[in-house]
Symmetry: C2
Subunit: 327 residues, 2 copies
């Protein structure tokens, strides 16, 4: 930067200002500086900048799983929403482990990010404490909470379960089933199940037959799950799969078992993943507002960072049941 300053005939402070707040330096000085930058092919050292200013044009984003296409639309929208703001996203994944999350938060904070985005509302106490003392905006997403760390943008997983139950009931289902994956790790699945089971019980239905898959949601798991479910109660005529991937497997398995979908068996998933509309039959599913969450998170983030939005708040973006031919 000193070289640039020398070549442009100004001081380093002016160069720094030209880069950070272009409109407070005079146009000709600015253009001389940019010329010098070009000539010397100077690249700014953001590390030094971050140290000096104690903030780093960086936003830490933590999701449970990069692999999981659930969060893909959110990340994409978030990235687009922050594009041009100068902020860069630091992505980390926890593998659904609260401890991994704590470590990630801690190592992200060591980079003094301008804000943090987490997935979910449940975190280790220490994670919350660490975040609170960092005094930066914290956005949680993909859930709701009355007591967010700071702000939260998402929807209610319980209401997903309730929605599916009501839909099954309307479609004339008698005997309900549920297939859930990874429930010891992913408490959101647990919430969806709870919404489903409780709504069923309140409406006077028998408790749904449940299959819990120990692994991550997969089509193979879904197929196995449905087989097991039908073996344990052949009268089941409507099954809520905690995830579209599972529902896809169930769909395949239903065909193998010779069960007509939706007449003999209704199948509803969650996620509205890309293939849901293309399956045969097309899959009914609950669509979470993935993209909207990303858009809204970016909007709130920008507002917070510019100081135009106050801290706090829980933003319910709702869910929607997309009825297709599988129910």
């Amino acid at each position: 930067m000193a070289d640039v300053a020398r070549l442009a005939g100004v001081s380093t402070s002016t160069v720094s200002r030209a880069l950070r707040m272009p409109d407070i330096v005079s146009p000709d000085v600015r253009s001389r500086i940019h010329e010098a930058i070009e000539r010397l092919s100077y690249r700014r050292n953001l590390v030094a900048g971050a140290l000096a200013s104690a903030r780093s044009m960086t936003i830490g984003v933590i999701i449970p799983s990069i692999i999981n296409s659930f969060f893909a639309a959110t990340i994409e929208a978030l990235e687009q929403g922050m594009a041009g703001s100068g902020y860069q996203l630091l992505l980390g994944n926890t593998g659904y482990s609260a401890e991994a999350e704590r470590q990630l938060v801690s190592s992200f904070l060591a980079w003094s990010p301008a804000a943090m985005v987490l997935t979910g509302r449940r975190h280790e106490n220490e994670t919350v404490r660490t975040l609170l003392t960092s005094h930066i905006p914290v956005l949680e997403m993909w859930e709701l909470s009355d007591h967010p760390i700071d702000m939260i943008v998402g929807f209610s997983h319980r209401s997903v379960g309730e929605l599916v139950f009501r839909h099954f009931a309307e479609r004339g289902a008698q005997r309900l089933g549920f297939i859930g994956a990874y429930m010891d790790k992913d408490y959101r699945t647990v919430d969806r199940r709870a919404g489903f089971v409780e709504a069923a019980s309140q409406a006077g239905f028998a408790a749904p037959v449940e299959i819990r898959l120990p692994e991550r949601a997969s089509a193979v798991g879904g197929a196995l799950g449905l087989r097991e479910l039908m073996a344990s109660d052949p009268k089941v005529d409507a099954v809520f799969c905690s995830n579209d991937m599972i529902a896809l497997g169930a769909l395949f398995e239903a065909r193998r078992l010779g069960l007509a979908v939706p007449d003999q068996l209704k199948i509803c998933g969650f996620g509205d993943l890309e293939f849901a509309a293309a399956c045969q039959p097309p899959l009914s599913t609950v669509r979470p507002p993935g993209r909207e969450i990303g858009v809204q998170t970016a909007k709130l983030l920008r507002g917070r960072l510019e100081g135009t939005i106050e801290a706090g708040g829980s933003f319910d973006l709702g869910v929607e049941l997309v009825q297709r031919a599988s129910t």
Copy 2:
């Protein structure tokens, strides 16, 4: 750090050493320091550390798409392979744009990472120049090249196409088809197509009927693609889909069209995505060594960073055709 030093009754240099090279400080001093760190809940400022040492325990990783589950296994394996090394991954996605890649490289380098990992062998000239002058290890992955920037780990996309052609020929296919998505952006798909088409031509087959989908690979696109393909030549009896997602859509569409798979129509995908084994019929596909690439990349990275491995080299991890019931 000064506070920690004071509380532990040592100098900041010793604290710094206790954190970076624990085994060169005496055990009791070390434990006193850790106690002080605990008491003060001190968190190290990595930004300052990176500035002082001119290197930041960070590795920049750039992939075309976070959404694309292709790279998921690689990222996961890479993450696991680097776990415990103290290095942290910085993830960025280019959306298949070379310009976005250049910008990402530039902004990652501003953080003085210890190494960079890129996807693919084709980059803008300036990207390559920038990387070369950064003097850090650069790993390219998911392809092969005789002239990597530094090191490259992957497989040949052309040979994927050849492999599929040979398989179709062995299975008695007569009239070939190809469905590819996003080919103006993703030149790897172009390479797979080239391998397929050229092998066919060399073996005396008529040029495959081709459908190019403008969008990203999707099941919906695959279904449309197959419909269009069969409309333009109903004699096609074997179709290579550039991606399993497309193949899945084609599989659904084949059922709709009343085409028996594999007797009337053979379908082969690429990716061995998670659902391939679970579809009905299970999908034949070419499995890229996604996980292995991550493992090998991590191994090379650690070697380079420890100085035990020399720069340079192209590592072919090969591909494998997984034959299932769709061919």
